[in-house]
């Protein structure tokens, strides 16, 4: 017979698809717990330790928070996910608001996680904390120049003209910082602050690491960064010329945000899911936060040495509902201020 290329191609395609589908579906025994995670730092390490201690196996899919939430919604009760893990209190608040997370009443978690870092109804719990604070080049800035009462607003002062670098308006870091400023000062004052930054010719960077490198290179004097990016860079380059300043210590405190987790409403293994969240908030705290230089939420756990070296600081209480509710307003405000 003359070979029929089209039929051969179709047959080959079917076979390949079958092979691919097979490895997707069968691919080994599913783990006891399945996790959707928008947090990416060293999950394997913490989960591996959890499995060693409890015998409960864990597997996870990483992704972006908004997409993973839509996936949860679309899968409904068919979802394989037991735990939803994400960064940013606003995202946790939003997942709870959309009824994707189950209420968990756990005395262990209530004791381990400070009240403002968890949902009042127990649908999510903060597990790791990051601070968004001031970073500066010590050759160019005397920390006494900062406004110790309200450092973020102080950067709107004309004396910082041409010296500022900040993240873009698309970044959730920028948005939640501005949302907290709206919560603190009201929209009008927050808008004034953002306009002040823009009037100071703030350079907008698309990435925290590039921002730090720009401060080190001396092209900007001051920036706003998540603390762990600096910790990570200092670990690699000890003579990196960037120092950290704890913002607003004589005022409302430094802006913080969390990553956290909740048990998925459609989980078919809620008991073990709760066990994992409890473990992460207690025994597993350091395994979960240290590799990324984050602060443990549990006061009983100690921060790792590099960030402990930044010194103790007062944090602004976290208002997840405000972060979530006001985030849309923050986006709008930034656009109004001409902040890109």
């Amino acid at each position: 017979m003359r070979p029929r290329p089209l039929i051969a191609a179709a047959a080959g395609l079917t076979a390949l698809t079958a092979a691919l589908t097979g490895c997707g579906i069968i691919g080994g025994q599913p783990a006891d717990l399945q996790i959707y995670s928008a947090r990416h730092y060293d999950l394997e390490g913490a989960f591996g330790q959890f499995t060693d201690e409890t015998g409960i196996t864990v597997e996870f899919i990483s992704g972006d928070d908004a997409e993973l939430l839509e996936r949860l919604k679309a899968e409904g009760e068919d979802t394989p996910a037991d735990v939803f893990m994400t960064v940013d209190a606003g995202n946790l608040w939003n997942a709870a608001r959309q009824d994707e997370l189950a209420a968990v009443d756990s005395s262990v978690l209530k004791e381990a996680v400070p009240e403002d870092l968890r949902d009042a109804e127990g649908r999510w719990y903060g597990l790791a904390m990051r601070a968004r604070t001031i970073t500066y080049n010590p050759d160019k800035v005397d920390p006494a120049e900062f406004d110790a009462a309200d450092t973020y607003a102080g950067l709107a002062d004309p004396k910082w003209k041409g010296r500022l670098c900040m993240r873009d308006a698309t970044s959730s870091y920028t948005q939640s910082l501005v949302a907290s400023l709206i919560d603190l000062h009201g929209r009008e004052k927050a808008l004034e602050i953002a306009k002040g930054w823009v009037a100071n010719d703030v350079q907008i960077m698309s990435n925290d690491v590039l921002l730090l490198e720009a401060i080190d290179a001396g092209t900007c004097d001051v920036g706003i960064n998540n603390h762990y990016y600096l910790a990570r860079t200092l670990e690699e380059k000890p003579d990196f010329k960037v120092d950290l300043y704890w913002a607003s210590q004589e005022g409302a405190g430094t802006h913080v945000n969390i990553s956290g987790a909740g048990v998925v409403a459609g989980s078919d293994n809620a008991g073990e899911a709760q066990q994992l969240v409890e473990w992460l908030a207690t025994k597993g705290q350091n395994a979960f936060v240290d590799a990324n230089h984050e602060f443990p939420v549990n006061p009983a756990a100690q921060p790792e040495p590099v960030i402990a070296g930044f010194g103790e600081f007062k944090r602004m209480p976290l208002n997840a509902e405000a972060y979530g509710d006001l985030n849309a307003e923050a986006v709008d405000l930034l656009a109004e201020a001409g902040y890109k």
Binding site: L20, E75, G76, L210, N327
Partner: protein
């Protein structure tokens, strides 16, 4: 063996009554429409979602600015890629110069670097803290003026230099295919080289140039990664900004509909550029365009132009990635090793191969169906299959999710226990489906522009001789469109290797590709660690590029396309 096969086949039409010559046509038309519906369903689901909630939310404040930025960026990148891609295609086809044979395929390589890698790497090299500006500051002092890298012009420049290969590839294929007979005829009739180029070859290449530019514009339209690094707020950035910034998915889908309108404009523009023109290859095999030798300085000048073009989109990013990988390995030799390395690569290649094959099969069937029917309705349906390319990957993924969620609900309501279950996210089928939606356009563009060069008279002759449509497909259309089919396979495979948002959203547990691997590291700025998987993606995407280049070369050295 061949002889008996031919005899056996030749017997087939005889058994059929004459009038059945085109009996397959309604079936082929129906197939085109069916493909259009299946492919359009998730996109429609998103549109309905967007329109259904219209007016419930205010549009973002700087929407006019976003629309203007999108327009400027798309036009800028289209013009830039036309200039670079078209110009280089002409340069390497019409001239011989040092290293020309190497550049012929090197010039395609920027396609192998995904946007989400290019943006960051490019800024690492050229932005204020990168080596280039550091050297400038050391040499000329801290106040040396450098153009703003993170700007609209910066984005246009970088995207043009990374997307031009779409135009280059299609233009080059067109130049090679047409040079055989037509160019010779023009020269015989007394036209000089330049005149033959301007008056004959360029107009003939117009459909291919238009197809290449529309691919470039759609890539630009849906890009989220590069533009964000350059702080350029397009409408696609707006979709994410609204979706993630306001926790309002419906408001985001309204913007996604706006993105689609841009896509419609692009496709309409492409049609207008092509006009009613149908350029078919006619006649015999000539000598074709004889490459002219560029001597000395001019030759090296041409080589330098090619080198400059291939640097921004390929060489510089790859060198930076290699430097990171080497730096990381020097500090800690074990840190690049990952036990699942092989698995990721196999997954990546498998998905790419299946997607490419599926897209091209469908594209060929659709192209064939359109050719047989020629009706306006069927042509419009075929156009509809290409819209997915103009929809950001994450939106296509969500469209697949919500349309299957609806199907699941409908099945359960109809009494099917469990409905569809976890059909979409429980297996790789969802990924494949979304990939086909997204990448049918490059496949169809390439196949269709090849089909367009086959004279309709050939199809009609075959039909009137009683050949069944399927036989015409296998014996006439496919062999004649071989080069287009190869281009299609390659374009889709490359796109599929690089694709990120869809696989991220729809993959089942335990299924990871190299792009997801890069994403997980790059998202947290572990660029040293991400450099190795990033290089793996580039390498995997180079494979199909090399296959294509070989294919293009065999076309070239055999002198002409089989006709």
């Amino acid at each position: 063996m061949t002889e008996t096969a031919v005899l056996a086949e030749a017997g087939t039409p005889d058994r059929r009554p004459r009038r059945s010559a085109g009996a397959g046509r309604p079936a082929w038309s129906a197939l085109v429409v069916l493909v259009a519906v299946v492919v359009a369903m998730p996109v429609l689901a998103v549109i309905l979602d967007g329109l259904g909630s219209l007016g419930s939310t205010a549009p973002p404040r700087d929407l006019p600015g976003m629309v203007l930025t999108t327009l400027l960026l798309m036009l800028g990148v289209a013009a830039g890629s036309l200039l670079v891609g078209g110009g280089l295609a002409w340069l390497v086809t019409a001239y011989r110069f040092p290293l020309r044979n190497v550049f012929v395929w090197l010039l395609v390589l920027p396609l192998a670097v995904p946007a989400y890698i290019l943006g960051f790497v490019f800024l690492s090299v050229f932005d204020v803290s990168g080596p280039v500006q550091s050297v400038l500051r050391t040499a000329f002092g801290a106040d040396v003026w450098v153009p703003e890298v993170r700007s609209l012009p910066g984005a246009i420049l970088v995207m043009s230099l990374s997307l031009y290969p779409y135009v280059y590839l299609l233009a080059r294929t067109a130049l090679i295919e047409h040079t055989a007979g037509t160019y010779d005829a023009a020269r015989t009739l007394g036209a000089g080289r330049g005149r033959a180029l301007r008056r004959v070859l360029l107009p003939l290449a117009r459909p291919s140039l238009a197809a290449g530019m529309s691919l470039v514009m759609m890539e630009t339209l849906t890009d989220f990664a590069t533009v964000q690094y350059f702080n350029v707020q397009t409408v696609s950035v707006g979709v994410y900004l609204v979706w993630k910034g306001t926790f309002n998915f419906h408001a985001a889908t309204q913007l996604a509909v706006l993105v689609l309108l841009f896509a419609v404009a692009v496709l309409a523009g492409e049609r207008a550029l092509r006009g009613r023109a149908r350029y078919h290859r006619q006649g015999g095999r000539g000598q074709g365009l004889q490459p002219q030798r560029l001597d000395g300085g001019r030759g090296w000048g041409a080589a330098a132009l090619c080198a400059a073009a291939v640097s921004t989109g390929f060489l510089i990013p790859v060198i930076q990635l290699l430097a990171w990988a080497a730096g990381g390995a020097a500090r800690n030799p074990g840190f690049l090793a990952d036990p699942r390395f092989g698995e990721y690569i196999v997954n990546t290649l498998l998905v790419a191969a299946v997607t490419a094959a599926a897209c091209v099969l469908i594209a060929v069937a659709v192209g064939h169906g359109v050719r047989l029917s020629g009706g306006r309705f069927v042509s419009s349906a075929a156009q509809l299959t290409t819209f997915g390319y103009a929809v950001p990957g994450a939106v296509v993924g969500i469209g697949v999710l919500i349309s299957f969620a609806a199907l699941d609900d409908a099945l359960e309501a109809a009494g099917v226990p469990g409905g569809t279950g976890l059909l979409i996210t429980g297996s790789v089928l969802g990924i494949l489906y979304a990939y086909v939606i997204r990448f049918l356009a490059p496949a169809y563009q390439a196949v269709d522009s090849s089909f367009a060069k086959i004279p309709m008279t050939l199809t009609f002759s075959a039909l009137s001789l009683g050949a069944a449509p399927r036989r015409i497909l296998a014996r006439v259309h496919v062999p004649l469109a071989r080069s287009g089919i190869a281009v299609a396979l390659m374009l889709v495979a490359i796109d599929a290797v690089k694709e990120l948002p869809i696989v991220l959203l729809l993959r089942p547990f335990g299924f990871t590709t190299a792009s997801v691997w890069v994403y997980e590291l790059a998202r947290e700025n572990f660029w040293e660690k991400a450099s190795l998987p990033a290089l793996v993606i580039v390498a995997a995407a180079i494979l199909p590029v090399l296959v294509l280049v070989r294919q293009a070369r065999s076309v070239e050295t055999s002198g002409k396309v089989p006709a």
